[in-house]
Symmetry: C2
Subunit: 435 residues, 2 copies
């Protein structure tokens, strides 16, 4: 409750004091519990809080979480103040309680309890609590580079990341990557009068529409040459595992008001978890105000993102996309193609990773059923960063749930998760320690 009351919003400098207070609380708790080398490290951004306990034999695990939260806006939609955590009907309401303060508290309190009751941890643990997760982990890669020794470990256990559903025991084994682009088509130096020029010169929005339409086939599959070349084949049993998941597609689509549409020969879950996409996130050009304007626009633009799956590299798919658009852009138009970022590759835990097996055993023990392996259609840069910069894999053991309105008003955290989480973390730590 004390931790959740601190307004540690990373995106807005006005919350600097809240950020500092959250770091101070975490450092005090870590030190009091017996962690060593507790402190702050940074690579030019908000500092991360670190600490370690290395009194055991064997491997070292880096426990990851973040202390920064999303802004509370729009504040007037909250039923209780965002930074006055409030319990109602078995739920704790407050900004950041689900993302990521509750899950971090579960991990830390379990570790603290081991130290208090047994005087030691079952395994070596390093702690990394990031302050920039909600602003895209801007300096996390640099932090890994500049503090490699401080962060080196055999694997990462992430307390960030949400359980897919409240009614199903699951473990996330992968995320899609992404990369963003902006595409502009230019057909003239200035907008032209459609009466004086229309029909005799190109229309930039029409050229853009043709280019965008060329990216997909009518069935929803991607028409860019080579796009699927590097997509790795499904692991043995992977598609069967997803098919066996209880999943009510109609119930999933209903709140969105959307119909299912995507690559044929793949189910909705496969489309989300195993297949890459090219999405148009926005487009604009010409006159967009009220009424009409008889203009032949000189320019039109679109923002695109690609979601990538294991095997694909953002550098290669970005090149394929660019080559496709250049090949399809007619000679009477100019194409401007911009990378918006260097992209993040997909991440997946190797199916036979020992930490994954340990987490599955821990969840089976604490929940009484074996968890299903699921994936995430979105992108969490941190696993890819840890893989690339520290050379280690990340397994998620988080007890937030995807429906808990993080990033929205009235974010909540199920109090029942505290108990579930502490039991699972306890089982995992004992398992990793060989007990």
């Amino acid at each position: 409750m004390e931790y959740a009351a601190l307004p540690s919003v990373s995106t807005d400098p006005a919350y600097g004091a809240g950020m500092a207070a959250a770091r101070a609380l975490l450092k005090a708790r870590l030190s009091a519990a017996g962690f060593q080398n507790v402190g702050e490290i940074d690579a030019g951004g908000h500092p991360a809080v670190v600490g370690e306990w290395l009194g055991a034999e064997g491997p070292t695990y880096l426990v990851y979480g973040h202390y920064d939260v999303q802004p509370p806006d729009p504040v007037d939609l909250w039923h209780s103040p965002p930074f006055e955590p409030t319990v109602r009907d078995g739920r704790l309401y407050g900004r950041g309680v689900s993302d990521d303060k509750g899950p971090v508290a579960i991990a830390l309190e379990t570790l603290f309890a081991f130290l208090k009751v047994e005087g030691r941890l079952p395994v070596n643990i390093k702690i990394l609590l990031e302050g920039e997760e909600e602003i895209g982990s801007k300096t996390l890669a640099a932090l890994c580079e500049s503090h490699r020794n401080r962060l080196s470990a055999d694997a990462v256990i992430s307390a960030d990341g949400a359980r897919w559903r409240a009614d199903l025991s699951t473990v996330n084994v992968g995320t899609r990557g992404n990369a963003g682009y902006e595409v502009t088509v230019r057909t003239a130096w200035k907008d032209l009068h459609s009466g004086r020029y229309g029909g005799a010169v190109p229309n930039a929005p029409a050229v853009l529409a043709r280019l965008l339409a060329s990216l997909h086939r009518e069935d929803g599959s991607i028409a860019v040459d080579g796009w699927y070349d590097d997509v790795r084949k499904a692991h043995p049993g992977e598609r069967e595992g997803f098919a066996a998941l209880p999943f009510d597609e109609a119930a999933w689509l209903a709140p969105a008001g959307a119909k299912a549409h995507g690559e044929p020969q793949f189910t909705t879950l496969e489309r989300l978890w195993l297949r890459p996409t090219i999405e148009i996130n926005g487009l604009w050009g010409g006159y967009t105000g009220p009424g009409g304007k008889t203009v032949t626009p000189a320019e039109a633009s679109a923002k695109l993102t690609t979601r990538l799956v294991p095997g694909q590299s953002p550098a290669r798919t970005g090149g394929l996309l660019k080559a496709h658009l250049e090949a399809h852009c007619p000679a009477y138009a100019e194409l401007i193609f911009e990378d918006q970022d260097r992209g993040t590759p997909a991440y997946e835990v190797p199916p036979d990773h020992p930490l994954l097996a340990a987490v599955e055993r821990a969840l089976t023990s604490s929940e009484g059923v074996r968890p299903h392996r699921v994936k995430v259609g979105g992108t969490l840069p941190l696993s890819a960063i840890f893989k690339e910069r520290l050379g280690v894999d990340t397994v998620t053991l988080s007890f937030s749930t995807a429906d808990e309105d993080f990033h929205a008003p009235n974010e909540f955290f199920r109090l029942s998760a505290l108990d579930e989480g502490v039991r699972a973390w306890t089982a995992l730590l004992r398992d990793l320690g060989g007990r």
Copy 2:
């Protein structure tokens, strides 16, 4: 000069006094010259100034012009104040001098001179000086209906409309029509996270892009079923006439920075004057701010206008466009199609119209060369309105030129046009009067 100094801007109520002053000046001049029934008529909008002289035998001609002008903004780009008409290098600079005060002055001063010198006009003349041309002739159709007797005539001579070029004697024999639409595609109730939904639900901008791309073939021709059905065949000699015009396509395209593109088998002038178009005037959807946003937009929209040619009716082409979009819209998307207006059909003077022949003789006599017949790719609603509401044709005899920056800063009118215009109007009136 006095007339051009009056700020008769129709679109902005702040210029009400300037509008009234322009009407007062026109009425005073008409009355002083000997016109009868001088006054104002309106159909709920800015009044039009009318007057008539019906002392001759034979047909009656309605002389049309407008006294309203475009706003002068941006005022700081003017080299002399927009409502302080200034002569520099043989040009009169000021808002409205070319559109349409100079051309109206030519017509009126010629008529006044006949009355002053000969005491009569060669033919019966009615005068209609509209106050809403620059705001789309909003109430002109209603005005024709409500004042049919006052405006009835055998044909209209328009002093509005611009000469194609300063270096070529031409007569405009037609305009394209137009009609405006707004198309929206909806695929969900709200924007969705592209990681959580991307690949498994439709993307509204992608659906819109496919729909827009389906409107044209790759060669620029229109792919809407039946679109060309009603396009009338070229008149005998019409295409040959256009082909004989001196026209430097590269020089025409250069200031626009555009390349030629349009229906194969037609020249640039034919594409502008004889062929219909579907133009995308604007499009928008999803996130269009700085940076990126990983969103699968629920909605995307476009504004379209169609340019129509003789034979086509806006009601039918609008129906064809709607039917095409509906037929191409996939079942997983909702299409909202809105007419923005009822549309304006193309207008053309019948090639054998006696008034057209008279204007051509007058120009031949005053300019020493026979004028070329040309058309206008844009749309002037008034000719279609006069045809529909009064049942009469309109021939244009204007001495503004298309390069005179009307609707822009530093609008100007060539002073040489005053002499050319008065000579042509004199020749026309004598010709129509049989002398």
